[in-house]
Symmetry: C2
Subunit: 563 residues, 2 copies
């Protein structure tokens, strides 16, 4: 069955030119671009006045950060013109290990959106992370044979690379031996350290926040991923990279983008649009978002409108707004006039589904589980800074005789991180300042990177109730007040994702967010987002893990009590 | 053992800029580019005033056309700054099949020059070619596992691709399934035919002789190889490709270049030099000859001066003359001040060496073997056009009663092509005009593509003597007069290559050439080069094969006698 798209202008990413030609598609592939006519095809579409360009590719995304399953992500990404993503299922791997990665592969099989996978390189991220799984080279090895696995995901453990850690180097060398890529993640690394990191064969970075960082990386042979996510926005600083000679070594990525942003702003199309608005060439931006990403990842015959290429095509109104009308994925219409054409959700093998849906292994909690046995009165508190993931350490006098140390007036609330993968009973309990809640408690199963159960509360009873609700839901976010659940967002897939749509998730997320603010949380913070990073002991300076407080700068556990 | 190259300017092929930096090398690899100093290294070289650039890569070469074995080719290419070649051993495969390819792999193992191989796709080239081997997909398959085999060589059989010939398509699809490239060769193909050829997954072409041809191919996604060989010179016509947007999709190749040219003009450096002389950027030309070739062929960490890259580096005097002083191959000095540092010739397995060295299977010939039984007097003659490989058909009256039809006054000589691989006794004998020899005979084992024994003579006795001398030498070129050998060039390796040096080969070649002219051959022709193409039935219009005369335009055998 042959399809002719005629009379449109074609974005040629090989020549950075617009050309007038007809496109002939047979099955999944483009078989001709040029002077083809109606008699060559079974179906003919006249696209006069429109522009055809290759589908956009997100070169680095964590699907779990969207809280959407791959099929639901496809539903929200496809109308944005995204026809392929390269996903690092790092979050689910921390919860479910091998099964988590298999889940992501199965959940993305045969979608109109092409989903490629980079294997998570750092599970766990640090020795303080009590995860559901440990993934060494042995665990990763077998997965490389999957045709959609393109390499090893972001190597965040750059100290391990610099120190020639044998387990880290083994993961890298095994990827290379199989001809696979290794993604980078080394913010602010430069000079000799960067040389060593790159010489180890780590070929890109998405953590550049300044043009100098990017230029050094490109000059040393790395590809730079220009990231524009929900929290981390680097586009403005990196706009010069859309010019020569830089653009040839850069691709566009979102990394972490929330569903509300996907709905309101878009996806890769949003980055292109922003670059164009800033005066950059849409032809260059489209090339960076298509051919270059495909070629960088070694995806053959993807990312261009040319003979032999996979017919992943967008029909645009114009190059200024980059408004996507229609999307073809492998020659089939996937989006028509902005509306996704329904597709079948992939079946997940029952054993894998069961593992992912039952990721909590934790006994029911009682208020007593949140009780702190006093060893003194001078305590280390985590202090949140609005708008940042960095935290400060604050030494405060705590009166354990009143509410076991909680002091709502001084904004000293209780924080607990409870191991939830292996029912070890490990937990870290302490205090936090900066949330501002006056009553109730909040809890979540999203707490980077180990995704243990994290709870913040104004009293132990509500904390226990919130924690138990998360446990009962198999994961999610919840807001509790006076023993009652006042808002919740279930995330039953590994405690990270929902199987609802982006719009439903965004609505639930907003509801939960508003509920915390109703309990008095400071308007300056995003309570659940801030909370999700309170247990990540790679961002300074004081964090809480299941093993207790971690002094991030010194990379060691410290006591709650300052003696 | 660490080596520091300091104070040079570095050609950065990622940014098209010259930068001042020191280069630190550890073993085969570059480990740092930047502010390194003497204390970082065991050996320090001060290269003040010099330029360091990545080694040049020839993206398409037939080693056999240089008549040099791979080690001797290395000796002449390395001082030109060539550190890697991608060779298609098409000629030797026509003679020795699988063993011929294995020979080329073994003869190029562990050379300072990196030799990559594309498997010959068309052996034999046409149904009229009686070759020493037939290579179908089955014969090629096992060779892809060799780490230096990068794909399937130039698919000259484009009619086969356009007709979906199952054997052709099987070869292509097997290469693709293994993630390998398929090189193209489709001169003058355009429009729908080109679309189909490209859509079959043939990703480059080196036969572009006009800018329009090149632009169409680049626009449709192919890489264009800008070829500058001994006979085929496309650089001048394709000079605009050194500018944007074209340069990014072009690489530099020689295809076929004779040893005398390699000595006098150079190799890839000669193409760069010519482009620079024509006003093109040396930085662009160097990028096209290094990083782009490596990336196109999927060679990881080759083609740049950057951390992690293989230390294949050139030390240049300047960017105008592109004069190569020193060459490092994998961190080891291979050329010092223009002189090759001696290296060990690879050992060839005895069975393979025996096959290649004994490629003739043919009984001794007598003058009677060249006798033509007359069936009339009007004959089809091949007429040579000076300076071209095209031939004309000339119908002439032949008097078989005098010298069995040879008529030196009218420049009608005898031409014979004798099957020499399987001793079938097949031979084609006829007449040729345009050589101009007044006495003697010449013979060669170089006759494209089947490389049977080809002989041109003024009498049957000298033809037999010349043929028998080629047979006795196991291949080569020979000039005979009055029964005596007056000049010869042995090519004992498959009848195609010598194990002498480039200078020796060039001298022998010149001696043989002059000897034919002394016998009266026209000054306007290159007798051995013209002769080598007289049996190639893909170049119009009349050619001689072991099966007899071929009308190339109609692709069928025709009788010597016009009735």
């Amino acid at each position: 069955m042959k399809l002719l798209l005629k009379n449109a202008q074609i974005v040629n990413v090989f020549t950075d030119r617009l050309e007038t030609a007809n496109v002939l598609i047979d099955g999944e592939k483009i078989i001709g671009v040029g002077e083809y006519n109606d008699t060559d095809a079974d179906i003919v579409r006249d696209l006069s006045g429109k522009i055809i360009c290759p589908g956009f590719i997100d070169g680095h995304i964590h699907v779990e950060s969207t809280m959407l399953t791959p099929p639901e992500l496809a539903r929200v990404c496809l109308p944005c013109g995204t026809t392929a993503i390269v996903a690092d299922p790092h979050e689910i791997a921390n919860v479910c290990g091998f099964s988590g990665i298999v889940y992501m592969l199965e959940a993305s099989e045969d979608l109109p959106l092409s989903v490629y996978i980079m294997l998570p390189s750092c599970v766990p991220s640090t020795p303080f992370d009590e995860t559901g799984a440990v993934m060494e080279a042995e665990e990763l090895r077998v997965l490389y044979s999957h045709p959609r696995v393109l390499g090893l995901g972001e190597m965040m453990n750059y100290p391990g690379v610099l120190a020639d850690d044998p387990k880290v180097m083994q993961k890298i060398s095994e990827a290379h031996e199989l001809g696979k890529l290794v993604n980078g993640h080394a913010p602010l690394l430069g000079g000799r350290g960067l040389d060593k990191y790159i010489a180890a064969g780590i070929s890109d970075d998405h953590e550049c926040s300044t043009i100098d960082e990017a230029v050094e990386r490109i000059s040393k042979g790395q590809h730079v991923m220009i990231r524009q996510g929900t929290a981390a926005k680097n586009l403005e600083a990196l706009l010069p990279l859309f010019d020569e000679p830089w653009s040839r070594r850069c691709i566009l990525v979102t990394d972490d983008r929330h569903p509300a942003d996907l709905i309101s702003e878009g996806h890769i199309d949003n980055i292109i649009r922003s670059a164009v608005k800033a005066g950059k060439s849409p032809l260059t931006a489209i090339r960076m978002a298509s051919l270059q990403t495909a070629e960088y990842f070694g995806l053959k015959s993807v990312g261009a409108v040319a003979p032999g290429y996979r017919a992943d095509l967008l029909v645009l109104d114009d190059l200024e707004t980059v408004k996507v009308c229609d999307v073809y994925c492998g020659g089939r219409l996937a989006v028509s006039e902005g509306k996704v054409i329904d597709f079948k959700k992939p079946e997940i093998r029952s054993d894998i589904r069961k593992t992912v849906r039952n990721s909590f292994y934790l006994d029911e909690l009682s208020p007593a589980d949140f009780y702190i046995e006093s060893e003194g009165s001078r305590c280390r508190l985590i202090k949140i800074t609005p708008g940042q993931l960095l935290t400060d350490e604050w030494i405060a006098e705590i009166d354990f005789n009143r509410a076991n140390g909680i002091d709502i007036k001084r904004d000293i609330l209780k924080l607990a991180v409870i191991e939830r993968h292996l029912n070890t009973g490990h937990k870290g309990i302490g205090f936090i300042s900066g949330i501002g809640m006056k009553k109730g408690a909040i809890a979540s199963s999203v707490s980077h990177d180990a995704h243990n159960l994290i709870v913040i509360g104004t009293n132990d009873e509500d904390m226990a109730a919130a924690a138990n609700r998360i446990r009962a839901m198999g994961g999610g976010n919840v807001v509790v007040s006076e023993g009652k659940i006042i808002a919740e967002m279930p995330l039953p897939e590994a405690g990270l994702m929902s199987d609802l749509s982006a719009a439903e998730i965004a609505a639930q997320n907003e509801e939960v967010r508003m509920a915390v603010h109703k309990l008095g949380a400071s308007a300056e913070i995003e309570p659940f987002m801030n909370m999700a990073f309170l247990s990540l002991p790679v961002i300074p300076s004081l964090k809480m893990t299941t093993l207790g407080l971690v002094d991030v700068n010194r990379q060691r556990l410290v006591s709650l009590f300052e003696k």
